[in-house]
């Protein structure tokens, strides 16, 4: 079932949580709502679930207006940030809840409920905790039970609020890969909220980047990372270096060095802001071209698959660069050495004419 959000506005007191938001989730997609806290992403999720009402705008399920539908009638699976498991019920009863509250005429028999619950527990690989209480489970286990509970009523849409927010880093990584595989098996239309860009880029088919109640960009993880629509998206999705460049006589200057900047239009501009991701630098011992910047190595962190290097240019500009281990072992630089930095590519640029 597709979800369409049309010009939705939500105001709490004098705080505009959502400001004329529109977006769409196609059937079977896994979409991430990504943004800093206070960007309105959770509010949007709750509005879709029917837990909040809009002040303006519509929510459409499969093209049909859902305004008149209450939360209990929307057939939406919702996984809460802090799981919201029923603390006085055992895991089995938690998962069975949605089936047991169905009207008598459509409610399955206790035996069918039992089969369904065990099937779901098997799906989340936790059959063996059926007789435990939520407080006897670890965070990751609780999260998966919350998911099983939401799936029990066969929802057409799955909404997850910061699904991995309160887990530690290792469990978080495992669970998000698990969620991706899980979605690939079930193909249920899913929308999840996160403030962690790594999580969104790794798990989602498409990412909706939100800020201050507005949608900044919608796109595949690749699109939003490599072709950000604006400076906010650029900054939010990863580290970036900002350079102010002057343009004189068709040449681009950074400090006193004239620089070759790939993709930068030199004509008709006075200056430009150039945004460069750490991996877009090349570091060499000899100037690669006449226009390489001379810089001193300040700090090297070689732990991990990439080597992080902090440099300072002659003009006093600090640069955060990342190169592969391979490249690092080739150039063999050390702290405080003089090197040359050139740009392989840039991510984003703003012009002043």
């Amino acid at each position: 079932m597709s979800i369409e959000v049309k010009n939705v506005t939500k105001i709490f007191g004098n705080f505009k949580a959502l400001d004329d938001i529109s977006m769409k989730v196609e059937t079977g997609e896994l979409v991430a709502l990504l943004g800093p806290s206070g960007s309105g992403k959770t509010t949007l999720l709750r509005i879709i679930a029917g837990l909040e009402v809009t002040d303006a705008g519509d929510i459409l399920f499969e093209g049909k207006d859902a305004k008149e539908q209450k939360a209990k009638d929307r057939n939406v699976g919702f996984v809460f940030q802090h799981y919201a498991l029923f603390r006085h019920m055992k895991v089995f009863d938690n998962v069975a809840f949605g089936l047991r509250v169905q009207p008598k005429n459509i409610r399955p028999s206790e035996k069918e409920i039992k089969n369904r619950v065990m099937e779901l527990l098997k799906l989340v690989q936790l059959e063996w905790v059926a007789g435990r209480f939520p407080w006897q489970l670890s965070g990751g286990q609780r999260q998966r039970i919350a998911l099983a509970r939401a799936l029990a009523v066969k929802p057409k849409v799955l909404l997850l609020d910061e699904p991995f927010g309160s887990l530690d880093a290792r469990v978080r990584k495992e669970l998000r890969q698990w969620l991706r595989r899980f979605h690939d098996d079930l193909h249920i239309t899913s929308l999840f909220v996160t403030h962690d860009q790594e999580e969104a880029l790794e798990v989602a088919d498409r990412v909706v980047v939100m800020n201050k109640g507005k949608v900044e960009q919608v796109g595949t993880p690749e699109e939003v990372y490599h072709n950000p629509a604006n400076v906010f998206v650029l900054n939010f999705l990863g580290n970036v270096n900002l350079f102010h460049a002057r343009v004189e006589g068709g040449k681009v200057f950074m400090g006193n060095t004239s620089l070759e900047i790939p993709g930068l239009k030199a004509g008709n501009v006075k200056s430009a802001n150039v945004y460069v991701r750490p991996h877009q630098f090349e570091i060499t011992r000899q100037p690669k071209q006449a226009s390489s910047m001379k810089a001193a190595v300040r700090f090297i962190n070689p732990a991990g698959p990439i080597v992080k290097i902090d440099l300072v240019t002659e003009a006093g500009h600090s640069i955060q660069a990342e190169i592969s281990q391979e490249e690092f072992s080739k150039i063999k630089i050390r702290k405080n050495e003089q090197v040359y930095v050139s740009l392989k590519d840039i991510t984003f640029s703003e012009y002043e004419i």
Partner: protein, 299 residues
């Protein structure tokens, strides 16, 4: 020797090797002070009540609590509690639900009103009812005109008791409900539960210990209330005397053994209340454990 002190902070004990900076002397001094205080102001009076009650033998004791006036007083006390407690339970749940789970204008005014019976002297609570239902009061003449007499009847006693005990359940439930938040109710709703199902299957089980606690306190107050009831009762023997009023009359007539015999019934109620309360405390502790979220260790 006293058993080692259990810390109030509960079951998440800080470990067996907690460093205590106070010296042993200070510790035992404080414990001794507290126990001495309890002995003088609680245990001794309680023992006194029972000793005086039985001072003229078991026969007098049994006679004192089985004479018709005493039985009538016991009956009225029980009837009052049976009516006042359930009503205030329903009101308490409704009020705390509204206050804890919703935002609305006038919420703080409602909270103040709920606290009102606790902040005024019981005598004044009684006088309010005289002002309302007495023959010179607001509704009094109208009621008397329609052949209904309110003052000096069991009805007045029950109404006054309801007023006095009205905050007991709500005050216990509001913090419990606030602490639990709305998450589980919202989860129930997204799973297709109706409002009633949500209340019955999710909210009520979660507040049951707080509710029981409130009911116990409400009941103790309803049965033991003296001041407010005294004002509206009229002290008609066998008709409008509750147990506390009965005790006072006996005492004023120098029937000490009989007065204390009746008093021992109320004292026993207090003891039963304390025992039930300690069971409920254990339940609340268990309930707290259900909300425990510890460090995540394994997937």
């Amino acid at each position: 020797m006293f058993p080692p002190l259990k810390r109030n902070s509960g079951s998440e004990n800080p470990g067996p090797h907690k460093i205590q900076s106070e010296s042993k002397l200070v510790k035992w001094l404080l414990i001794g002070l507290a126990l001495g205080y309890i002995a003088i102001f609680l245990i001794m009076p309680l023992a006194c009540v029972f000793m005086t009650a039985f001072s003229k033998g078991l026969g007098t004791y049994v006679k004192a609590i089985s004479e018709p006036d005493a039985l009538a007083a016991i009956r009225l006390t029980l009837i009052t509690a049976v009516i006042a407690v359930p009503l205030n339970m329903i009101f308490g749940i409704a009020a705390s639900w509204a206050i804890a789970k919703f935002n609305f204008k006038g919420k703080s005014i409602l909270l103040t009103f709920i606290d009102l019976p606790l902040s005024v002297s019981p005598v004044i609570s009684g006088l309010i009812f005289v002002l309302l239902f007495g023959s010179q009061g607001f509704f009094g003449p109208w009621l008397i005109g329609h052949g209904i007499r309110m003052m000096f009847t069991p009805a007045a006693i029950i109404l006054t008791t309801i007023f006095v005990t009205f905050p007991m359940v709500a005050r216990e439930l509001i913090p419990v409900m606030k602490a639990q938040g709305n998450d589980e109710e919202e989860a129930a709703m997204t799973l297709g539960a109706s409002g009633f199902q949500t209340f019955w299957r999710v909210t009520l089980p979660n507040i049951k210990w707080g509710l029981l606690y409130g009911i116990i306190l409400c009941n103790a107050r309803a049965m033991g209330e003296f001041g407010a009831v005294s004002v509206v009762s009229g002290h008609i023997r066998g008709l409008t005397n509750t147990l506390p009023l009965h005790i006072e009359i006996l005492y004023n007539e120098y029937h000490f053994a009989a007065a204390f015999a009746a008093a021992s019934l109320l004292a026993m109620l207090a003891i039963v209340t304390l025992v039930v309360k300690s069971f409920i405390d254990a339940g609340i502790k268990r309930n707290l454990q259900l909300t425990w979220t510890g460090p995540e260790e394994k997937v």
